[in-house]
């Protein structure tokens, strides 16, 4: 556990540094989702950084594409590309686009950023696995505000209809979106009841507790006949005091002084 903490500390610092270097980006949602992504790639996802097109790999779709700094940091950590490339985030010609694009960067499974689309693509991939009798799994990570998109619920209906037990949706419930708190902008509760009513296996967890993440992902794999929704309670901007819980840090880069303070806090 100690090692994981050290690892997510360095991932958090990389997120801050790359967004600061880019001069724009989304620190709040990247810091809320990073523990979930780190845990997935380290201990649950079947993947091989040397063979990003391995047909038998599990697929992860980051539907909340604006949090891609977190995914880029994790992919670099696992050797998909050199860490030095993180500094090119959002720069002209960089494979690290402002929102992820599959054909520009090995390891990205789907272009996202237009919220609400990732789960549909995950349904298609999970269907392909079923049609071909393959045992790879699909993980879709989305935000809670993103669940306001109607297409998510079209996809949720279809995943239950097709009995896609090889599909896990992880919701990064950080409670914030650009215009304010999710419960004020457009309330989603009771969210667990909604997924249960749509025919999903549903469980809640603390999205910053690595042991809880591990046990929730392990439990999801055991479910048969139904897709699984993991509702991960998180804190927007987690790890940086002045970003925590603040919608103002949804899509803003820190200045040099803020960057220094953030990295200092994270490494503490």
């Amino acid at each position: 556990m100690k090692e994981q903490t050290a690892s997510t500390k360095s991932l958090r610092s990389e997120i801050i540094r790359m967004i600061a270097a880019a001069g724009s980006g989304h620190p709040g949602g990247s810091l809320s989702v990073i523990d979930l992504l780190a845990g997935l790639y380290a201990r649950h996802l079947r993947h091989d950084p040397k063979r990003p097109d391995w047909p038998e790999r599990d697929r992860l779709i980051l539907s909340k594409g604006h949090a891609c700094p977190a995914l880029y940091a994790v992919l670099a950590e696992h050797g998909y590309f050199p860490k030095a490339q993180l500094a090119t985030l959002r720069k002209l010609g960089s494979p690290l686009q402002g929102h992820p694009e599959r054909h520009r960067l090995a390891g990205i499974e789907a272009a996202t950023g237009s919220l609400g689309q990732g789960l549909s693509m995950g349904v298609g991939m999970a269907l392909a696995a079923k049609l071909d009798r393959k045992d790879f799994r699909i993980y879709v990570v989305c935000g809670d505000g993103e669940l306001q998109e109607g297409q998510v619920w079209e996809a949720a209906m279809s995943a239950a209809k097709f009995k896609l037990d090889n599909l896990t949706l992880i919701v990064d419930c950080n409670g914030g979106q650009i215009d304010g708190p999710v419960h004020e902008v457009m309330p989603l509760e009771p969210l667990a009841d909604k997924f249960t009513a749509f025919g999903w296996d549903t469980r809640g967890l603390d999205g910053h507790d690595h042991a809880a993440i591990d046990s929730a992902l392990a439990a999801a794999k055991q479910i048969t006949g139904r897709p699984q929704a993991l509702l991960a309670k998180t804190v927007k901007g987690k790890g940086v005091s002045f970003m925590e819980g603040s919608c103002a840090w949804h899509g803003k880069a820190p200045n040099p002084a803020e960057t220094e303070q953030a990295v200092k806090e994270i490494s503490r």
Partner: protein
């Protein structure tokens, strides 16, 4: 194989006929399989048919996911309902370069009585703005069968636009569809040598009062117009544009070389479709030829298809008038 057949019917038959040749083919529907004519495929291959219900965005997104895992998904709905999900097509299909085949049936006014909300009248304009998307609109059953076969073999996204109404046969049995090439359907080809390599082009030599560019449901109307003008002493050529994107600009250049004017006629809004493509090509090539664009200028309405073509300026008589306007003695 009957002469008059809706292109959606020919598409439905082609899917069944080609299912064995394309084992990765899967067909997706959004509660319209009896109208898009995919129902026969669903009956023959229930394991390869995926019904998504009345939820087109999710169907298109799922098609992208299937394609990214090696399947060849055909997504069928009405043209209007697919174009309505443009942003899903843009991100899930185009940005992922996903090998998805979008099939929009019920193109244009040709659907008739169901009226405006069911009419795909802006779909080509929207889809033509997506780089890398091939857009096909076959003119008869023979061309449809070949276009479907090409579409399934092609590695890349395709939009296939089909009619509800029956269309007359405009291609001869020896016709070979070539993507990206507009073909002359009137006057009939004369055997020449050497072989012109598919640009069966702008035969025969001579001067034409007008060359009409038509696509899908209007090709038969244009041929009827050209035939009716012949005894009046007007030579008119009809070019069938099956591939709307990428557009065969060379065909416009050749037509401008021996025609006094160009006429376009499409069952689609007059903005952004075939007429725009012809004008863009003429302008880019620096051609001074006048272009008369016939197309729909409203959102559509109920009526019988021939009545609607007459009322909205797409019928044989309107095409004749556009070819010879200001010329009659």
């Amino acid at each position: 194989m009957s002469a008059d057949q809706a292109t959606r019917e020919a598409f439905g038959e082609a899917l069944v006929a080609l299912a064995g040749k394309f084992p990765q083919l899967v067909v997706l529907d959004a509660d319209l399989s009896k109208s898009t004519m995919t129902a026969a495929f669903a009956k023959h291959h229930p394991d390869r048919h995926l019904e998504f219900g009345i939820a087109e965005s999710n169907m298109i997104g799922a098609a992208a996911g299937l394609a990214l895992c090696g399947k060849v998904p055909v997504c069928a709905s009405f043209a209007s309902f697919l174009a309505g999900r443009l942003e899903t097509i843009r991100v899930a299909v185009m940005l992922n370069r996903a090998n998805v085949k979008l099939v929009g049936t019920h193109a244009g006014l040709g659907i008739g009585e169901d009226g405006a909300s069911q009419m795909g009248l802006e779909d080509v304009a929207a889809m033509r703005a997506l780089p890398g998307l091939t857009i096909l609109q076959p003119a008869d059953a023979r061309e449809t069968r070949q276009a479907v076969a090409w579409m399934l073999a092609h590695d890349g996204p395709v939009y296939l636009r089909l009619t509800r109404q029956k269309l007359p046969e405009v291609h001869k049995p020896e016709y070979v569809f070539k993507v990206g090439i507009a073909d002359t359907v009137w006057p009939p080809a004369v055997k020449t040598s050497p072989d012109d390599g598919g640009h069966a082009g702008l035969h025969p030599a001579g001067h034409f009062q007008a060359t009409v560019f038509a696509s899908g449901g209007t090709v038969g109307e244009a041929v009827a117009a050209a035939q009716a003008l012949l005894p009046k002493g007007f030579a008119v050529r009809v070019v069938n544009v099956c591939t709307l994107s990428p557009f065969d600009a060379d065909a416009v250049g050749r037509a401008a070389g021996d025609s006094s004017r160009l006429v376009t006629v499409e069952d689609h809004n007059v903005c952004g479709g075939l007429g725009s493509a012809v004008c863009e090509a003429a302008a880019a090539l620096g051609l001074g030829v006048p272009v008369v664009t016939l197309g729909v200028k409203e959102l559509g309405e109920s009526g019988a298809q021939p009545e609607l073509y007459e009322r909205h300026g797409l019928s044989r008589d309107h095409i004749m008038e556009a070819c010879i306007r200001n010329l009659e003695a």
